[in-house]
């Protein structure tokens, strides 16, 4: 177990939870991938690019080996005429072969697009796992802090000090009840409970505790 148990000496939470944080951090680093690197730029396929394709990719291809220019054949009439040359009179088998090539080319292009879409979904899984690891890290931080906090000598996790009605000039909502509390032995804080929840309502103290914990967690995050 990653949590070494220390039955008698005081519990050192940093040591106790540190292995967890180290492993979560290692997993986060392992998942770090630069999805903007060239390796992750979706391949440029003119037969797929609708509208204004990613020009930077075409520029790169033109610089790299000029084949990017062939994607502009549609804009040249004589080039289009080459594509429509019919050789079947001279060589019927050639024309048939060309038809087969175009059919398999079209299927290969569709399957390549489908594969591309699946790869994008796979990338999303990576991003999802990364954000879950961030959440795990944050939640673990909170749990280890709570574990630490519950070692204080205070008699109560939540100590209610005073209950006050809203002062006339206070910015608290009118009719609200102010409760001053100490949470885990920390400095006193005042939470305000709206007049809808009276002191005799069983939800009153739950509302106080919930607000106090939220405020505490907010401060801790800061």
């Amino acid at each position: 177990s990653l949590l070494p148990y220390a039955p008698f000496e005081p519990l050192n939470f940093q040591d106790m939870f540190q292995p967890f944080f180290d492993m979560i951090r290692q997993a986060q680093q392992a998942m770090e991938i630069d999805l903007h690197s060239p390796a992750f730029r979706p391949p440029q396929m003119d037969f797929i690019a609708e509208g204004d394709e990613d020009n930077r990719a075409v520029c790169r291809e033109i610089r790299h080996n000029s084949t990017g220019c062939l994607k502009m054949k549609d804009q040249c009439e004589k080039c289009q005429e080459i594509l429509s040359v019919d050789c079947s009179a001279n060589s019927p088998s050639q024309e048939q072969l060309r038809q087969e090539l175009n059919d398999s080319l079209r299927i290969a292009e569709q399957l390549t697009k489908k594969y591309n879409d699946l790869l994008q979904s796979y990338q999303w899984k990576m991003l999802n796992t990364s954000s879950l690891l961030d959440r795990l890290n944050e939640q673990f931080n909170w749990v280890s802090r709570l574990a630490n906090l519950t070692q204080g000598e205070d008699q109560y996790y939540l100590q209610v000090m005073t209950v006050t009605s809203r002062a006339p000039d206070s910015e608290a909502p009118s009719g609200a009840t102010g409760v001053s509390v100490r949470l885990f032995g920390s400095d006193p804080m005042t939470v305000w409970v709206s007049e809808e929840v009276s002191r005799n309502n069983p939800k009153f103290i739950e509302t106080v505790a919930e607000k106090a914990l939220q405020e505490y967690r907010r401060k801790y995050r800061e």
Partner: protein, 205 residues
């Protein structure tokens, strides 16, 4: 100040502490919920990987068929050559002009070198390559290479992370079932530690 007896304040503190205790339990369960989400996402990833492998097989088969057809067609090249060559001589300048105009407008960097390189490329190309959609076939093969590279990188990263996460989740912290919320006893210091984080058995040992 409202008049609240110390007994009532004490009772409020007790009730409030029970609520906090429950929240501590929820915090620990929150860790376990996130763990379940990570495990679920990983299962989904594995089944998506299976779909990817099937799609890759289909794609490779179609690519092989395309290459075979292209090879057989190349073997017959030479037919209609005159027609194609004549058209090609008129196609090249248009292609070069269109491409260089695009490049100068969009890519902005050194058109001179690119123009010369393009001239050479077109002179070495044959209209037959064009007629056979050779550029589309080459584009597909380039995509295939790039897609394999992308998947390899992702698989490598997932593999590393999965082994670390598997080890992390094997820890007792994640495997033990925490007893229901223990009754909050503020006076017994041993119980001051919420059982869910430090189960009694650990201290008993």
């Amino acid at each position: 100040d409202q008049v609240v007896s110390s007994k009532e304040l004490q009772e409020m503190s007790n009730q409030g502490s029970k609520y906090i205790n429950k929240e501590i339990q929820n915090a620990v369960n929150g860790v376990k919920e996130i763990k379940s989400l990570i495990v679920k996402t990983n299962e989904e990833r594995k089944s998506l990987l299976h779909v990817l492998e099937q799609a890759k097989k289909q794609k490779e088969d179609a690519l092989n068929e395309t290459r075979d057809s292209e090879t057989r067609l190349k073997a017959l090249s030479g037919v209609c050559n005159e027609t194609m060559m004549a058209l090609w001589e008129e196609c090249k300048p248009c292609l070069k002009q269109t491409c260089m105009k695009f490049y100068a407008r969009v890519c902005r960097s050194g058109s001179g070198v690119v123009g010369h390189q393009l001239e050479e490329f077109l002179n070495q190309s044959s209209p037959f390559y064009f007629w056979m959609n050779g550029d589309r076939v080459d584009s597909l093969l380039e995509s295939d290479r790039q897609q394999s590279h992308m998947l390899d990188i992702m698989q490598d990263h997932f593999g590393q992370a999965s082994s670390i996460i598997d080890e992390l989740f094997r820890d007792k912290f994640f495997t033990r079932e925490y007893p229901g919320i223990s009754h909050y006893q503020p006076f017994d210091l041993l119980h001051r530690r919420p059982h869910i984080l430090f189960p009694k058995s650990r201290f008993a040992r």
